[in-house]
Amino acid sequence: MKFPLRQLLFFVGAIGMAILYALAFAHLPGPEGLRSMYRDVINLQTVEQRHITDAITAVNFDYRGFDTLGEEFILFVSVMGALVLLREEKDQGGEKVPDAAWPARSVPPGDALRVWTLWMTGPVVLFGIYIVVHGQLTPGGGFQGGVILATAPLLIYIAENLEVFKRITSHEWIEIAEAIGAGGYALIGLIAFFYSKPFLTNVIPLGPGGTNINVLSGGMVPLIDLTVGLEVAAGFVVLLYAFLQEMLVKQGDQ
């Protein structure tokens, strides 16, 4: 009998796993036990040293800016990878046969939905920009704001149709924006070389400090926030467009 043996093996493994799990958790410090020196130093220094009130953004885009550059390129490369996969599939597929079983949208959106989503689009764009430019002051930043910005064309797609979505997310411009976003971060890092400093040193004037910190404070951090916001927003729009494009081809055939 093969089945009981397998079950027996599973239970032995599961019990072992449970014991190890419990042991691991027994020594886990609570949220109060995580007071590290690094955290205290960062909290004390960011306002004075970098004119930044959101310590997390200071770590991400300044003190550990090089790590974030790597993360941004991970996103950039993933988007490119997804595009390559989707495009190759599309080319091999050749001429698509019109398919009545898959109308892109059988029922037109109702008036209430259209009014609501179109009304929402402006505030969503504004909120996205707000989150991007206030990265060094409050929670948020280029990454979070960028994704919020990328949802604005989606709202329009929900309210209208793929034609309108395509017109807004005109492909080449979005790709150029993504490239500028990805390359801009590295270029801002290169500015430090003109001052004989290491890559990604914050050499740009820090702007107002103390209690007057505003969206222009933080030296290179607001600039990096902008490039990351551009990169993330454009990357997500490119990805959405690639996924939805196939449906558009079908809609055009019908």
């Binding site: 046969v97 079983a101 929670p139 979070q144 919020i148 949802t151 997500f236 959405l240 196939e246």
Partner: protein, 93 residues
Amino acid sequence: MNDAAITVLQVMTLVLVAATGAAVVFTRQPAHQMVGVSFFGLILALMFLLFQAADVALSQIVIGAVALPLMVMLALGKIRRQSIEQDKKEHGE
């Protein structure tokens, strides 16, 4: 809010995280699962907020509750369309 209230809220969200996480795992239909994942993402964001990680909470909302389910849904739709087309080819329609 005082510390005790925060602790109560933290415990409540942790229980919710466990419950919604289990619900996601035990959902069999991928399309239904994505709705669960989206909700799970929101609960996780609430948890991060209560543990004073506001930046992570924001990222979690946009990625876990919006972007991830959306991407998986689009991919699922694509796979389903492909398999229907393949069926048609095989049955000579």
